[in-house]
């Protein structure tokens, strides 16, 4: 099955710093999502981005489907950005009914005041 690798596994920042999180995947995808898991465990949808670039406030994401990677940019980080960021994909082979998401292991972000 498709493999999803995220880097770095852990990241510690000072408030106000910028960061880039990376997601590599091993096969063509039909769907790519970025999530933020907050300290209470809730998975919050950040982006649905199988290709192209999107921006939402201080966050933006770019997926280059032909090169099988996606990047999540966080600018002017805040303590509330802390948590684990997950990339998840649906392989094109799995489209057409089930839309099964395969998750990476996540990047744990800590933003210190």
């Amino acid at each position: 099955g498709i493999q999803v690798e995220q880097s770095p596994p852990d990241l510690i920042l000072q408030e106000g710093a910028n960061s880039t999180l990376r997601c590599n995947f091993s096969d063509s995808v039909n769907n790519l999502q970025w999530f933020h898991q907050n300290p209470w465990g809730q998975l919050i949808n950040l982006f649905y981005i199988p290709s192209g670039t999107k921006q939402n406030g201080r966050l933006s994401a770019t997926t280059v489907a032909t090169e099988r990677y996606s990047l999540l940019y966080i600018s002017s980080s805040q303590t509330t950005d802390s948590g684990v960021y997950f990339c998840a994909v649906v392989a094109i082979a799995d489209q057409g009914g089930s839309e099964k998401l395969v998750f990476g292991k996540g990047t744990k972000l800590t933003v210190n005041p």
Binding site: Q33, G41, F86, A88, G97, S98, K100, L101
Partner: protein
């Protein structure tokens, strides 16, 4: 708007006891529904998915089962819990390819 509910929020159960976790979705019809588990180490693993009433696909052979008795209801069950069943269980639904997750149930098997 669509919302997804899970209960209970936390659960502590002894080894060998039964389990029933419930998930319901409001504001949509005939959604794809999913059960994921997140164990220590952060990764999420797909356990079951359903594309309609009574249609269940299992991704991982294990001690758990799932049922979908109604269009917007998805239930995760076990007849006898194992210590290894501990974890954070999340229900999700999908709309136009994008998946949305419920608040989760934190299960501790003692």
């Amino acid at each position: 708007s669509q919302t997804i509910h899970q209960w209970p929020a936390t659960l502590v159960q002894p080894v060998g006891s039964p389990l029933s976790l419930e998930c319901t979705v409001e504001g949509t019809s005939n959604p794809n529904l999913y059960w994921y588990r997140q164990a220590a180490g952060r990764g999420l693993q797909l356990l079951f998915y359903s594309v309609g009433i009574g249609q269940i696909s299992s991704e991982v052979p294990q001690n758990l089962s799932a049922s979908r008795p109604q269009d917007r209801q998805f239930i995760l069950s076990s007849k006898k819990l194992l210590l290894s069943d501990s974890g954070f269980y999340l229900c999700a639904w999908s709309f136009r390819g994008e998946q949305y997750f419920g608040p989760g149930t934190r299960l501790t098997v003692t």
